[in-house]
Amino acid sequence: MNERNDEKLRELLRSAVAAVADTELKQDLWPRMLRKLDEQTIRASWLDWALIALVSVWFFLFPEVIPAMLYHL
């Protein structure tokens, strides 16, 4: 009785879930991944570098602002 039920269940599962015929990748995805990573590279302008330098100098001249800055981060 149990075996018959199992067989019936197997058949039902086979009919419900379509078999996947071709599981191989059609192309190498790694070059696309590399392209995507290249697109997302951070590019800073000269203004951004100038601002980074300004903030560094500010922290150097007024180190007492560092805790207040960290408090707001």
Partner: protein, 135 residues
């Protein structure tokens, strides 16, 4: 990937302050327990741990909500958040009796805060938004 844009925006927004939290936490713990700086660390950490990350998330959601005509450049949008956070932080610091944040110090830190936020939003939050296809 097109579903739940606000949830993705929130997650991209909170990612940066959550990561920075480790640095902030380390700085204050070292100051308190190694150098014995007399500061109530449990009161101090309420703002950077609870308020700041959530506001970053909500601010990024707001950016998604705004239509393109009303959007500022992304870095500027992030920098504006400082103008909201600074008074909240100051009020909370006063309420919790924290001496490390005073009005004078907030005014001194404001220009730096604007620059740091501008850079962080433009480059880091912008990167996460791009990664999660937000906006």
């Amino acid at each position: 990937m097109n579903k739940h844009p606000y949830l993705r925006a929130y997650l991209a927004g909170i990612a940066v302050p959550t990561m920075f939290m480790l640095i902030v936490l380390t700085f204050f713990i070292v100051a308190r327990f190694v150098y014995n700086v007399p500061v109530a660390i449990e009161r101090l950490l309420v703002f950077p741990m609870a308020v700041v990350p959530n506001l970053w998330g909500v601010w990024n959601m707001l950016y998604v909500r705004l239509d393109s005509r009303h959007r500022l450049p992304f870095g500027i949008h992030g920098a504006v958040l400082v103008l909201l956070l600074a008074p909240i932080g100051l009020t909370l610091a006063k309420a919790l009796d924290l001496w490390i944040v005073t009005p004078t110090l907030v005014i001194t830190v404001l220009p730096v805060g604007l620059i740091v936020y501008y850079l962080a939003w433009k480059h880091i939050v912008g990167f996460f938004n791009q990664l999660l296809r937000v906006g």
